[in-house]
């Protein structure tokens, strides 16, 4: 009896959580423009979406920003973690705390403050400002993922490599890097995902005339919602979902579960 209730309860929770998304995905295949009526299955919104010039350029913008932001934030975050090996544990936890604050901070606050900063520094808005903003908010996610790996490094292995004649850089490449790599990869995937699906910070730092997918959708919705947007949203959801699943299944998370 109890088991049955547990299952029903779980079912209700899942319906609450996923009903909106499922509705959106179903509607993206609806041939009728009406939101209330099912007019039969179609892929025309998807084909129309892919022939849309504005969507194509927004997609290119989104992907190039996500890729570049991922590369830069992963490198910066990883180097920072490694540099923190030398610190004592008290100072290290203080620094980790400080770097974690932007993650908890409301996106709108981060967005507005970055916008103000860029204005103040006279950095032209558009691609550069969004990229800088994304690198900024991605670094803590990378560090969060890399730091546990760095902490569990056996430093003697690095010294053993030096002892056998390796230069510090070669020793790092051969001993530390393979050990922290799973953390780096999952941090990079996390950064990529965050960058792909960010709206608020992008909106405040983009300026005018430059669109990413999320800002494009927002603008379209203001003008009255088109079924192409359902299709676009469905695609974004599926991409982000698959990335999250890859992150969850990466070796970094597997060892944490042990």
């Amino acid at each position: 009896m109890r088991k049955v209730f547990e299952k029903i309860y779980l079912g209700i929770i899942l319906i609450f959580m996923y009903a909106p998304i499922v509705t959106l995905i179903i509607l993206s295949f609806n041939s009728s423009k009406s939101r209330a009526k099912w007019g039969g299955f179609t892929l025309k919104w998807y084909t129309r979406l892919f022939s849309d010039q504005a969507v194509a350029s927004a997609l290119v913008n989104t992907l190039s920003i996500a890729v570049l932001a991922t590369i830069f934030s992963t490198i910066i975050g990883t180097i920072t973690c490694i540099a923190m090996i030398g610190l004592n544990s008290k100072l290290r936890s203080v620094i980790m705390g400080i770097t974690n604050i932007p993650m908890i901070n409301a996106d709108i606050v981060t967005g507005i403050s970055l916008m103000l900063l860029f204005r103040f520094l006279h950095i032209g808005s558009g691609f550069t400002t969004i990229l800088l903003a994304h690198i900024t908010f991605n670094i803590p996610f990378v560090m969060l993922s890399v730091m546990p790996r760095v902490k569990s490094l056996n430093f003697y292995v690095y010294e053993a490599a030096l002892d056998l004649g390796a230069t510090p850089l070669y020793a790092f490449r051969k001993t530390m890097l393979p050990d922290i790599m799973p953390g780096v990869v999952s941090g990079a995937l996390m950064a990529f995902t965050m960058s792909l699906d960010d709206f608020i910070i992008t909106y405040f730092t983009k300026g005018s005339g430059f669109e990413t997918l999320s800002t494009l959708i927002y603008n379209e919705v203001k003008r009255g919602i088109q079924p192409e947007i359902y299709a676009l949203s469905a695609i974004i959801f599926v991409v982000v979902l698959s990335l999250l699943m890859i992150i969850y299944r990466s070796p970094n998370n597997k060892t944490k579960e042990k």
Binding site: Y156, E159, A161, L162, D163, L164, A166, T167, P168, Y170
Partner: protein, 357 residues
């Protein structure tokens, strides 16, 4: 013993204001098995890391084969280290682990292959080339770590408590292995441990350290039989350490009774410390002993019995293969040769040492 290979001159080192090594001087001879022995925090590992190049001394010089190597990076030094926690490269096979140093030196493939086979044979792990470190036991991993170090033909092998993580049986086996390896390779071993038995079994030369100072150095026999101070006597095995008075040469007053001894030159009526090893205390009939007492405690230790004997207000620790039940009246006799006389600590440094006992 050969000529001096490594010389540490006036080495001092401190961490966060805490002095770890204080004006340390040490000569290590070619082709010897030297053990740095002491409790944790005595500076033995720091000394080893300074020799290996992983730490720089605040003061002093490290001279290797006539050359000052104090500031030389570890990868440029002609010595190799076996670390406490194996420190194998876990994502590489055994073969790749052993080849690591040789590949850096750009040795030809055939040479590397021969070396790997030779090294694995030396540590009794033939046929392990393709295995991964994770699939090996602790003892096997440590042998691979040794193999990885010796293929580089170092002049000196540094070993930092390499047997610390192994169980007792494995540790004893490895002690003989290491001794054999040392003989076969004919190089200098510098070994760090806190285990006095390990030190006595393997070394040619023991350096007993405490609180950043060398307390005594010498052969295992000298360290055991003629400890220079109470710390060394206490650290190297069990002992009875008793405050006594040197009446004159070859006569010492222990707990109000005069014992004949063989030491001279301490002066007349001078306070001294006396060390008597538990196995050197003979239990005889009460009438035959120099002093007499009562057995208060008895423990079976396998090879021998351990007994506490209350006599003249001191609890004597006695090791004997002959059993005396608790409550038995016994006499105590000590051969003059087995009474070791030591100076009572006078300087502050030595005072600090006796406080830690």
């Amino acid at each position: 013993m050969g000529k001096s290979l490594i010389t540490l001159e006036h080495i001092s080192k401190s961490y966060d204001g805490q002095l770890i090594l204080d004006d340390l001087n040490l000569d290590i001879h070619e082709n010897s098995f030297v053990t740095l022995l002491g409790p944790s925090g005595c500076g033995k590992t720091t000394t080893l890391r300074i020799i290996g190049g992983f730490e720089k001394p605040d003061q002093g010089r490290v001279v290797f084969d006539g050359q000052d190597i104090t500031s030389l990076a570890p990868n440029k030094r002609q010595l190799n280290t076996v670390f406490q926690k194996y420190a194998l490269f876990t994502h590489m096979s055994i073969e790749e682990n052993i080849a690591f140093g040789l590949k850096i030196k750009n040795k030809p493939d055939s040479y590397i292959k021969d070396k790997i086979r030779y090294a694995l044979k030396l540590v009794n792990l033939e046929g392990f080339e393709k295995r991964m470190p994770d699939s090996l036991s602790g003892g096997q991993q440590q042998r691979i770590a040794i193999a990885r170090a010796i293929v580089n033909e170092p002049k000196v092998l540094l070993l930092d408590e390499p047997l610390g993580a192994l169980d007792l049986k494995m540790r004893q086996d490895m002690q003989y292995e290491l001794k054999r390896l040392k003989e076969e390779l004919g190089i200098t071993f510098i070994y760090v441990t806190h285990d006095q038995e390990e030190a006595l079994t393997m070394s040619d030369h023991i350096v007993v350290m405490n609180q950043g100072y060398i307390q005594q150095e010498g052969s295992p026999e000298t360290i055991y039989n003629e400890p220079e101070n109470a710390f060394v006597a206490d650290f190297i095995g069990d002992s009875n350490i008793i405050r006594a008075t040197m009446v004159r040469d070859e006569l010492v007053d222990i707990l109000g009774t005069k014992f004949a001894c063989v030491d001279k030159g301490f002066g007349e009526n001078k306070p001294v410390d006396v060390v008597i090893r538990p196995e050197d205390v003979e239990l005889v009939a009460p009438s035959e002993g120099t002093i007499s007492g009562v057995v208060t405690d008895l423990t079976f230790k396998g090879v021998h019995y351990e007994m506490d004997v209350e006599a003249c207000g001191y609890e004597w620790l006695v090791h004997s293969t002959r059993l005396s039940e608790v409550g038995t009246k016994v006499g105590i006799k000590v051969d003059p040769f087995n009474i070791q006389i030591m100076n009572v600590p006078v300087s502050e440094d030595e005072e600090a040492i006796s406080e830690t006992i």
